[in-house]
């Protein structure tokens, strides 16, 4: 039976962000921007949505004098990603 896909991860940019964060310990906003080629505004919105769902945690800090946003995937996010990939497989 075909499973409903997690709507939060079924957007390409959010899926991209989660795919990046599942492979690393942590990454900053610039790294995510560089790898996804998305606009800063769009990434900010999607990070906020993922954070509200508790899929990722966001830490605002400073690198020298510049502000830095560090993102990490949460256990809940890892589980959601694992489930999403499993659900995708059910379509084959």
């Amino acid at each position: 039976m075909l499973k409903d896909l997690d709507p939060l991860l079924h957007s390409q940019l959010r899926l991209g962000i989660i795919s990046i964060l599942i492979s690393v310990v942590e990454a900053d906003f610039l790294y995510i921007k560089e790898k996804t080629n998305a606009s800063a505004g769009n990434i900010s919105v999607q990070l906020e949505k993922l954070s509200q769902a508790n899929y990722i945690s966001i830490e605002k800090t400073f690198k020298g004098k510049k502000p830095q946003t560090i993102c990490r995937i949460t256990e809940q996010g890892k589980e959601a990603f694992r489930r999403y990939v499993e659900d995708l497989k059910s379509y084959f």
Binding site: H10, L15, S23, V24, V25, E26, A27, L30, Y31, K35
Partner: protein, 190 residues
């Protein structure tokens, strides 16, 4: 729908692969330290055969200079987008452990005497071997084994010959892998 599912799986793979592109550009520091150590060791070797009062001058000048250049390079790297991978953690603790061991060996030079450089070469082979394994970069693994073998062989030689063997060890474990990493980085860029 099936098309979209296939696209999403390909997209996940693409994103995960992008996070693996980090280590190909780490050749610069390998080359910098490799050449500095070789120059200092060769200078030391040649000055030993002269009446010059400070045959260790190369080490005294080049090692701090290498430290300064490394710091400037690292601060420039810091301006780049930041990411910490699981590999970073393994590398960090492996090389920190080697740094501590190296400090102990050099501080014990008085007691270790002629065994110091051979021990450094053997000890250096261990983090290099781990790095090669973690990065799946075979030249580093072979270089590490080479460094250990040269280190063991060098126990039987006098200090001046040990300096030349140190250069050989650096060549196989630093310089050759460093240049190969650079070549790989340029290929990845194109």
């Amino acid at each position: 729908m099936e098309n979209q599912v296939t696209n999403n799986i390909a997209f996940i793979e693409e994103m995960i692969n992008k996070t693996k592109q980090k280590y190909s550009d780490s050749g610069f520091l390998f080359l910098l330290w490799g050449y500095f150590v070789v120059i200092a060791a060769l200078l030391n070797y040649f000055l030993l055969n002269t009446s010059f009062a400070y045959p260790f001058i190369g080490w005294a000048v080049l090692m701090p200079l290498g430290g300064i250049i490394s710091m400037i390079y690292s601060s420039k790297e810091n301006k780049k987008p930041y990411v910490k991978t699981y590999t970073d953690d393994v590398m960090k603790y492996t090389w920190l452990a080697f740094g501590m061991l190296l400090a102990v060996l050099l501080l014990s030079m008085g007691k270790l005497g002629l065994n110091t450089y051979p021990l450094v070469m053997v000890a250096y082979g261990v983090p290099t071997f781990i790095t090669g394994g973690v990065l799946k970069f075979k030249p580093l693994i072979y270089g590490a084994i080479g460094s250990i073998v040269i280190g063991v062989v060098s126990y039987n030689y006098t200090f001046d010959v040990q300096l030349l063997l140190l250069c050989a060890s650096i060549l196989v474990s630093y310089l050759i892998p460093g240049h190969l990493l650079s070549i790989q980085h340029k290929k990845n860029k194109n």
